[in-house]
């Protein structure tokens, strides 16, 4: 057992921490509230090679593993970085694995394309999955050049963003969310990537990876939200003492600290399981995502509440965290929908339809 990062992982974390401290102050996040995306920051990410980290070396990538990608996502989540790091990494890995010669792989490697995913079956209740209505809510869809999706005919990638891409949508704060029309009959025909079980397996895999990396992102969000709340609780004086000395303030923060540690360990375990316990990998990704989503919302809520009225004010940062804590996981259906997947994948894998996750 070894629960520490190795030296190269620590260097990666430190490097991104330093970059983001410089290049992603909270003022940038505020400037991007109306677009959910910073071209300038994404360009910094590309300079660091973030777009090729997930690609295998065979296609000029850095061939990093999910844990390394997760660590970058976690640092990104801490500062709410408005860039499609997770989407590009996951779509790139998917494409490189199933269609390494696809021109998009080279464009991702060159930093020329943003590719996202239409997650399958993101919600049983509100029916926003691509399979149902021919269109899908796509994370960073408003800035994506291409989207990978799946339907009855198989796995495909749709470009022709001019025709297919809807405008950036206002929501509680998830980023550059947009509808993509994925009807095969519209615009340029989508490029087929795979069919049948191969298609479903590839999409299930990509979906698990998206959830895992987004889970890391939410762990970062929760860690920072907790720090913001604890800092405030130490400094804010009411009734002559710091409010952090009141159990009604201290205990909920402590409970969040515990849950956040658990969320980090769970995400790390899922990333580790990819190679070491592959049978548990998708189930652990689902757990990591659901728990990170629950923990991020609870922690942001407790931290916001710790601030009293100020948490509610746009001037304070914690409301930026609170809104994203619900909106970001919402793209995959939200925390409660994910619990269904956890039950299926972890407790009754024989009943979880292949690729249904």
């Amino acid at each position: 057992m070894d629960l520490s990062l190795d030296e190269s992982q620590q260097i990666l974390v430190d490097t991104f921490a330093e970059l983001l401290e410089q290049e992603c102050p909270v003022s940038l996040v505020r400037e991007c509230e109306k677009t959910g995306f910073s071209e300038a920051l994404w360009s910094q990410y590309r300079e660091m090679g973030a777009n090729v980290m997930g690609l295998p070396e065979s296609v000029d990538g850095l061939g990093m593993g999910l844990l390394e990608l997760g660590l970058v996502a976690q640092r990104s989540g801490r500062v709410l970085a408005p860039v499609p790091f997770v989407e590009t990494a996951v779509a790139g890995r998917l494409l490189a694995a199933i269609a390494p010669g696809d021109p998009l792989v080279a464009r991702i490697a060159a930093g020329e394309a943003i590719v996202s995913l239409a997650l399958p079956r993101p919600h049983a209740v509100t029916g926003t999955g691509s399979g149902r209505t021919g269109r899908a809510l796509v994370p960073f869809g408003a800035v994506a050049d291409a989207v990978v999706g799946i339907d009855a005919e198989g796995l495909f990638v749709a470009e022709d963003a001019g025709k297919r891409r809807g405008p950036r949508l206002r929501d509680a704060g998830s980023g550059a969310l947009a509808w993509w029309s994925l009807q095969r009959g519209e615009g340029a025909a989508p490029r087929a990537l795979a069919t049948g079980d191969e298609a479903r397996r590839a999409m299930a895999r990509a979906s698990a990876e998206w959830k895992l990396l987004t889970g890391f992102w939410l762990v970062g969000l929760a860690q920072r939200a907790l720090e913001i709340g604890a800092d405030y609780a130490r400094e804010r004086i009411q009734f002559g003492v710091p409010i952090g000395g009141f159990q009604a303030i201290a205990h909920p923060l402590a409970e969040c600290a515990i849950r956040v540690d658990g969320a980090e360990l769970l995400a790390q375990e899922a990333a580790w399981a990819e190679a070491e316990e592959p049978d548990r990998f998708e189930g652990l990704c689902s757990m990591a995502f659901a728990w990170a989503a629950q923990t991020a919302l609870r922690t942001a809520d407790v931290s916001l509440h710790t601030h009293g009225g100020y948490g509610f004010s746009e001037e304070y940062d914690i409301q930026l965290y609170y809104r994203r804590a619900a909106a970001v996981p919402g793209v995959a259906g939200g925390a409660r929908e994910e619990l269904q997947r956890v039950a299926e994948l972890c407790l009754a894998p024989e009943r979880a339809a292949l690729g249904g996750a």
């Binding site: 993101p122 919600h123 049983a124 209740v125 509100t126 029916g127 926003t128 149902r132 209505t133 809510l137 809807g166 405008p167 949508l169 206002r170 929501d171 509680a172 998830s174 969310l177 509808w179 004086i237 009411q238 009734f239 009141f246 159990q247 009604a248 303030i249 989503a293 629950q294 919302l297 809520d301 916001l304 509440h305 009293g308 009225g309 948490g311 509610f312 004010s313 746009e314 001037e315 409301q319 609170y322 809104r323 619900a326 909106a327 919402g330 793209v331 995959a332 259906g333 939200g334 925390a335 409660r336 929908e337």
Partner: protein
Amino acid sequence: MDFRLGPKADEVRREIRTWLAANFSEEDRRRAHEDGGGHDWDLYRKLAAEGWVSAGWPVEMGGGGRDPYEILTLYWELCKAGFPWIGLLNNGFIGHTLMAMGTDHHREHFVPRIASGEIAFALGYSEPGSGSDVASCRTMATRDGDDWRINGQKMWTTTGHTAQYIFMLTRTATLDRPHKGLTVFLVPTDAEGVDVQPVHTMGGERSNAVYLSNVPVSDSARVGEVDKGWSVVRFALGLEQAMGYADLQERFLEDARRWALAEQADGGLPFDDPRVREQLGQTAIHTEVARLLRHRSTWLSAESRPLGGKGAMTKSFSGSSYLEDAQAWTQLVGSAGLLAEGEDGAVAGGAFEEAFRQTPVNTIYGGTVEILRSLVAEVELQLPKSR
């Protein structure tokens, strides 16, 4: 027992609904929603012209003599309709307070002008360093001959940018005994040295910070005795308590219900999912309990019975159950549920998204749930003061 608000309240409900249908258009609602300031002079003056602003005051003071159930119903319907009613609410509190604790000058100079819709009041209790601990107020009022000068800063002065006056708590003696040495003034917002700056919130409301720099205030604007302001503020806060948000919870429940029973793109009904039914059932119960607790507060007040901790119970339950429901729905409905009103694909008119952003503040303003729970523990359970 009788759980009806009674025929007079029913009549008010009909009247105000008719009035809203004629005077408050969908465009007005949307404008008020976007503005977020909580007050609209045009609409307010129309309401005042019908006598609604002073409806709850005694007839002998020029009011409408309406009973507490009628006023509850008036507020309920305005709030549910999305009417910008904060000004009305504040003016109700302040009018009552001036009638009970003000001077003849206040009753003659201010009360009729509130009733006619000419002037409005904002509340000035909170400060940057003084939230839950209201009595730690540091805005100073110092003698200037017979009159006063005020220096300091107020926070969360909602409607401060549209109101002519702020009902303001100030410190007139040293801090060593926090609840002593406080005094209340009616401070004109157009006085020299008053600077009102907007404070925007996550929920879309616009509140204000008010900076006070050597602001001259006449002694006739003082409410209550010098250094005895705490009792004045307690009176006004007592009126504000005991309401909660059952009206908003009812609207939220109606929105969620409408969505759950409407066919989705795939032909299914959300209602057919047991998780949706469970959440609807829970939301319906929370709404009913919040309504009953508010009705009980109103009944106690109508019967002149002691309120004890029951006002605090009303607000604490309503604020926390509404937040709990909003977050539970958010975690259930996923992305489409988080699209804002008017966006392509938004469900329930954006109700889930809006409630998610708006509900946290309900556990804070007018007394945090922590303050209220301590009060309930002390008053209703005779527990020691909890630290």
